[in-house]
Symmetry: C2
Subunit: 701 residues, 2 copies
């Protein structure tokens, strides 16, 4: 027991308050009053009881493995993070190579909660390098690199040299050059100047033996654009750099220090011709370049990462919502009745408003993420069975993948931003204790936020999704055709005139319709503005540029609508035990989203100002409804204390005890004299006083 | 020269692109095209040429002092930060003790940009400890503690033990106890249980010899509420803890690791009676407690820190806006015309929208911060000359200080949040390079965001400012009296009916009026809701609780209005050289603020949906106007490269060169083999393959 004072149970203002015993009792009371078994909601979120049990076994695998001990997580040094990360990757790679794919996929997913740096570092090899070989290499090339040990990390570690110092988003203007040398049947890879230095390359600083370099293919002085080439970086015997390879460490980052991001410069580096991945474009022995008949078939590979990031956003946001909501259930602050215990944070309306709509958002992320993944897998299956001469099939696939491209771009941007916002808002909701490293928020924010930048900067992605929406609307206006994700545009006229008309604001059908109305309105407004400019003879690019604000908004609103729609659609499939407890969450999310964006609904004329006032009071109402079961909703996220790894967020709710013990574990009290006392403090604190009486002018007359 | 390849100047797509020479040329061109001399705007922001020159001399003082070398800023270890911070504080304390106050104030202010951790650690002693002695001690007590070395840090270092583990915002419920022992004429200080452990106490872990402990005064079994007591923590001879003092390190935090935050527990610690600060409440020798006649006179001290935080928000946000806008001026990405250089980020409308309104916001912070500081100093002067029997004078002071309390609370919350948002948005606007530690964003965000929590959690402060606004409106409705900051409420009726009425949206008068209209509308709506509940017999606290959302909004909008008002008021005093270049900034800020909050204006009926569309196009227009001089506006912030300390944000604009050199300086390339290669990597990469042929069932029949 840690109390230095025997008066542990004090009666103060008539109230017995004991930090050690009250919080866990409160938490137990919360669990006792739940209207549902959180486990049923877990099954709903995971898809089935069996899936939940499988996931739990994978979580246990991490929790029990000494290499994944995370007790010291928030005090690790830069050097330790780098080294530990490699150990963890090697450990995981043993089982990944043996697992069937869906299993390894699930297993790796947990790493995204547990250790984001290692998740990224491992992703560089498996997701970026290996998947690119799969997606862009010929079957022979794939077999070759697997034989070299790529899949099992044996004598081989891959990295992915795409980004350059001067080019990130605009891949088509990368400047690294691969010149075909007909004499020797090789490519010569060169970094022409410093701006073309490969930059941010995870794995390049320490680990990678090979890289997949993106470079401009040049044959006989002609530029064929950017293709990918496997380039050996290090000698396999002693890990020294190969001739012509210069690399260095990018050093300290905002987060994810477990990844050895590096830079690479190539100087006359020669690789055999067949090190270029040739599933699509081919270079023959004589220098003939064969372009692929179906360039659009390569789009799919850009989407994989983004699809996963919506699920990652759910995984990470649910962790921090659990922490902040458990803490809110325990923490007392201010009281309206003298002599009574102070009110718990969770019982303040405004505190509910700070967190509960975000919790509902995290649910929406999961369901929308599942939905887009299903669409993606369906389209990939279609692609694999496609014959090149099946024109209609190819066209339909291209249509699907274009739409997926913009749906996944919009979702990636919206949910990674929302997750960053949730981590930060959840931290603030925990007051000062949110700022302690031991509650995890700081590290997570630093690690997380790069998700808003990589695999497409969120703003650029949203603008590009907006461009696609305008293009869809233009096609619809001309040809009457619409893809699946925008099919509500066919009801544009009806939606433009739709109003509340006395219907209940708690009716999911109305809420979905309201979002369709403002989303169609935003897309049509952006398209009108585009057409207006276009009629004046403004170029396509300049039209899009001038309607930037409108297309950003269109994509943002369309995506919010998609999240709301996915939420209600999945609820429709839920069993009756959980359905009544999911609808309030979805309603809260939809109503709060309206409140946040009420200008849309007012401008569109869908709602009147008094409707918005009602929306606000309904948000209050649903906060109250959801509050009662808040511990159930967060328990349903089903993260063990090991994954939570936050003193104030543990299952038992024993906030202060856990927190104090954690701090003392990491920094055992040792008398309070710092290591620099003798050298730095003592000489100063104990200095002789130099008399600071100023020398008077008369003295020096 | 760092290029490994002689082909430095390459011609590509007909364009000569050279990372080493192009960026600084572009930056020089930007400066050549400015419509004003940035120096004139610097004088405007600082107040005068003389002030600018004084500030520059102070900046140089830091830049030249080897103890303030910040080359290694982003790679320092936890231990180094702690030690370096003490060295810096001791160094500064030498000059601070000699400086006249306004000088030391300015000097310390820069530390808030340069080293936020040390700024806080020094603030704990000078601002919290010393100022409390000044504000709450009798003149004799002040002299006594100055004689003990408090001011010059000689044999003395103070800290401020207010927050407890279980209580932060609600100070009146702190649980540490100071019992008066009549026998010995002492107080006995006790931490009754773990939840009452003093927590987050900067200086407690390593440095402080004394603390100012907030504890409940108890005399003869009666509780007189929370008062402050000087309590010695460590023995002066060897820095060991005094009997009854337990303290430990709080350990790692999200940021500000330079501060040695600690926890303290008191067990029967005795201090002489006159160690209680007795300017207000007094305890006499016989245990008589004399309560102060003018409790409200103590409010002022709570405001000082908040006032400074609006200025700090400006100081920090301007740094990161400078970095992101300089980078945006250089960085090229995508092009609409093949063969032409790619477009610079700053020339994209959406990129302008991401940053330029925020730059205008940073200007508004400075001017609003100056304004509230003036009000504060004026009220302090009034307080000092007040006689206790001057009833009218006291009443007027209390009125002023109440209003200042809510104005400064609203501004503190709005600007510290905005600054956090600016750091993060500026980072994202720099793409991947924003994530490098060497561009400063990550560290700054981690260090900064505690500003949103300490000295009043922003949400709690905003709610409390909203409560004050409702109270003001209630007083006005009853008695017709209004303070200065809310005087526009007297025009509530007129404002409720005000509309655009065909006036220009570029007219500052209209923009100010529009904000007054929605602000008055929000305050009145919240007050109406409050009165409605009150009439139903709901208790005061419960009324406020139920209108949480409304009062939060009222305070938020009232504060935005105050920022806009302060912006235009100060411009009115500017000289004609700069005025025409400040008005577009203020208009951009006011219009963008309308766009962000357009629901208010629609619901209020001040604007119609088509006006909002016009607002959007005006935001676009003002972005374009401000863009031309963007380098002038950021140069006017007048931070040297030393203060900027970001490779991509330096004055010369030589982005890529500076950045690459910085990375190579911090991590010199050394062959790319990590320290853990032999132990960790080699055994795994070079392992013998264990045959993974499964054992067939028939084998074990």
């Amino acid at each position: 027991m840690i109390t230095p004072n025997p008066a542990n149970d004090i009666v103060h203002d008539g109230k017995l308050y004991d930090t050690f015993t009250e919080p866990p009792k409160l938490m137990a009371q919360e669990r006792a009053q739940l209207d549902f078994d959180p486990r049923d909601i877990t099954y709903f979120l995971d898809g089935s009881k069996e899936e939940t049990e499988l996931l739990e076994s994978l979580m246990l695998m991490y929790e029990r493995d000494p290499l994944f001990n995370n007790q010291n997580e928030y005090d690790e040094s830069f050097e330790t993070l780098r080294e530990r990360s490699v150990k963890r990757i090697f450990q995981l790679s043993k089982s990944i190579a043996m697992d069937p794919e869906p299993m390894s996929f699930r297993k790796i997913g947990f790493l995204g909660i547990l250790d984001m740096g290692t998740y990224a570092r491992l992703g560089v090899h498996y997701a970026l390098f290996c998947n690119s070989i799969r997606g862009q290499g010929t079957p022979d090339q794939l077999m070759y690199w697997l034989d070299q040990g790529a899949m099992v990390i044996k004598g081989f570690y891959g990295c992915f040299a795409m980004t350059e110092m001067g080019h990130g988003s605009n891949l088509s203007r990368l400047e690294t050059i691969a010149t075909f040398d007909k004499e020797t049947d090789e490519f010569i890879i060169n970094t022409p100047h410093v701006g073309a230095t490969k930059w941010w390359i995870g794995g390049a600083a320490h680990t990678a033996t090979h890289t997949l370099a993106f470079a401009r293919l040049q044959v006989d002085g002609k530029d064929y654009g950017v293709k990918s080439f496997v380039v050996p970086l290090r000698n396999l015997d002693d890990h020294s750099l190969r001739p012509g390879i210069a690399t260095g460490d990018i050093g300290k980052k905002m987060g994810r220090d477990a990844v050895d991001n590096g830079w690479i410069q190539f100087t006359n580096v020669r690789v055999p011709r067949n090190y270029m991945l040739m599933k699509h474009t081919k270079v023959l022995r004589d220098g003939t370049v064969k372009q692929p008949p179906l360039a659009q078939l390569t789009y799919g590979s850009l989407i994989t990462g983004r699809v996963q990031m919506t699920t990652d956003s759910h995984n990470v946001s649910k962790k921090f919502l659990t922490i902040a909501l458990r803490y809110a259930t325990i923490r007392r602050q201010f009281s309206s009745t003298p002599g009574e215990p102070e009110t718990r944070l969770i019982d303040y309306l405004y505190h509910q408003r700070r967190l509960l709509p975000l919790m509902a958002y995290s649910y929406a992320m999961k369901l929308a993420g599942d939905h887009v993944r299903e669409l993606f897998f369906a389209s990939q299956e279609k692609a694999e069975s496609l014959k090149e001469d099946d024109k209609a099939g190819v066209e339909s696939y291209v249509q699907d993948i274009k739409e997926l491209f913009s749906v996944s771009a919009g979702l990636k941007a919206a949910t990674t931003w929302a997750c960053a916002d949730i981590i930060d808002k959840a931290r603030q909701a925990c007051g000062g204790h949110g700022y302690s490293a031991y509650n995890g928020f700081g590290q997570a924010f630093q690690d997380w936020v790069v998700q808003c930048t990589w695999e497409g900067d969120n703003t650029v992605l949203t603008l590009s999704a907006g461009r696609a929406l305008i293009q869809s609307a233009l096609v619809y206006r001309k040809e009457g055709k619409l893809g699946n994700a925008t099919k509500y545009l066919s009801r544009s006229k009806e939606l433009a005139n739709a109003k509340r008309n006395g219907r209940s604001l708690e009716d999911p059908k109305l809420l979905v319709e309201a979002w369709e109305a403002v989303s169609a309105g935003a897309i049509n407004a952006a398209t009108d503005a585009y057409e207006e400019l276009s009629k004046q003879g403004v170029s396509v690019d300049e039209c899009f540029e001038q309607v930037s604000q409108e297309r950003f908004q269109a994509a943002r609103i369309h995506t919010r609508r998609a999240l709301i729609e996915a939420f209600y659609s999945r609820i429709a499939t839920a069993d009756e035990k959980v359905k009544p407890h999911l609808i309030p969450l979805a309603n809260l999310f939809a109503l709060w989203s309206i409140e946040e964006d009420s200008a849309l609904f007012l401008a569109e004329g869908y709602f009147e100002p008094e409707d918005i006032i009602e929306v606000t009071s309904l948000v209050n109402k649903y906060c109250g409804i959801v509050r009662k079961n808040v511990i159930g909703y967060t328990d349903a996220f089903n993260l063990s204390d090991y994954f939570i790894n936050a003193a104030i967020g543990r299952y038992d709710g024993d906030v202060y005890k856990n927190y104090f013990e954690k701090v003392k574990q990491q920094y055992p009290p040792e008398g309070g004299k710092p290591h620099y006392y003798e050298d730095v403090m003592k000489p100063f604190l104990h200095r002789e006083r130099i008399p600071d009486v100023p020398m008077e002018p008369e003295d020096i007359q």
